[in-house]
């Protein structure tokens, strides 16, 4: 059974209350079609559980297979540095079919962020260490592909179908209720 080795820190991108009984961590790649397919499902799952669920997204770009994944991850981090991580995250996944630099700049512009600053951050690899640290934490935790999910620190080996994710999260909620 694989468990999450990298604890959640203030550097993580978190949606939902810190004291939620269940934390869902996703390791994802913005160019991975499965992650794209999982994205609306994850949003529905979060809606379903409301304040009982905290969502964390970490980067796991498979750069050799997906040439735009690293740049997209760094762009999301750039937006995050300006407090707009989740808007950028949603924007990238919702437009995954045209992922590339023009899209990343357009999304930044639409969020009122400077395209020039983003360009400089990508050229300088400003956010590459954060992306790398997410990736390595994932590898050490047994992430073997994307998307990979951890529910309260335990790897979810089921599929990312809505029913599968909801059932697995319910199980954790009940396990807590019985304590």
């Amino acid at each position: 059974m694989s468990t999450l080795k990298a604890p959640i820190t203030p550097l993580d991108h978190v949606k939902g209350p810190a004291n939620a009984p269940v934390t869902l961590v996703e390791y994802g790649d913005y160019e991975c079609p499965h992650c794209g397919a999982a994205h609306p499902i994850v949003n529905l799952v979060q809606e379903h559980f409301g304040p009982r669920l905290r969502l964390v997204f970490r980067h796991f770009p498979m750069s050799q297979a997906h040439p735009h994944a690293e740049g997209a991850a760094e762009s999301a981090e750039f937006a995050g540095a300006h407090g707009r991580f989740w808007e950028m995250h949603d924007g990238i996944f919702e437009n995954q079919d045209r992922l590339g630099l023009p899209l990343l700049f357009a999304l930044a512009g639409a969020l009122g962020l400077s395209e020039l600053e983003l360009r400089a951050a990508l050229v300088n690899g400003t956010y590459a260490p954060k992306v790398k640290s997410d990736f390595l934490g994932g590898v050490r935790s047994g992430v073997n592909g994307t998307p990979s999910f951890f529910i309260n620190g335990v790897r979810h080996d089921g599929t990312y179908a809505f029913d599968d994710l909801v059932a697995a999260i319910e199980l954790r909620l009940h396990a807590r209720a019985e304590l």
């Binding site: 694989s2 498979m62 050799q64 297979a65 390595l136 590898v139 047994g142 992430v143 073997n144 592909g145």
Partner: protein, 169 residues
């Protein structure tokens, strides 16, 4: 036969690495070697597994380790697969006699005629340090390999330390 376990000397081998070149385990003596036996090029899980190792390659190299993928596919098949997936590490063809090396490591599935999904970390002296056989349909990830390489590095540095303190004494 279960797969060979830690403490067993790693059986030597020479296998095609391209249609016109061979690679021997002994060519890599002095460095840790990761052997990743897998059932087949192109099958979904293997592709993900090899793609993952491709991404984690810099971490393996930090430990001076080399990774070799091994399956019963032929050298031409490996070449096409590696090119398609942009793999930056060698794939060896355990093709003729089929599965001979996998059999020596206890990592051959006679019924299907393919390799197990089995991992071996071999130390600098050619002894198996760690091994793991994954359920055939499960991508075992890279965490076990990295844990093993880290332990090997610690052992190595402890050994070096012991040597240097002996020397000082």
């Amino acid at each position: 036969m279960p797969i060979l376990s830690g403490g067993t000397p790693a059986p030597g081998f020479t296998l095609p690495v391209t249609p016109d070149q061979n690679l021997s385990l002994s060519d890599l003596a002095g460095r840790p070697v990761i052997l990743a036996f897998y059932p087949a090029d192109w099958s979904p899980v293997c592709g993900d597994q090899m793609a993952l190792y491709n991404e984690v390659l810099p971490e393996f190299h930090k430990h001076q380790a080399e990774i070799l993928g091994i399956s019963v596919d032929g050298a031409w098949c490996h070449q096409a697969f590696a090119k398609d997936r942009r793999l930056h590490f060698p794939l060896l063809a355990d093709f003729e006699p089929k599965g001979e090396v996998a059999k020596q490591y206890g990592a051959y599935r006679y019924r299907e005629g393919v390799c197990e999904r089995a991992l071996f970390v071999i130390d600098r002296n050619g002894v198996i340090f760690w091994s793991y056989c994954s359920p055939i349909a499960v991508n075992p990830g890279a965490d076990g390999i990295l844990d093993a390489l880290e332990k090997l590095s610690h052992q190595g540095s402890a050994h070096e330390h012991a040597k240097s303190s002996n020397h000082a004494a």
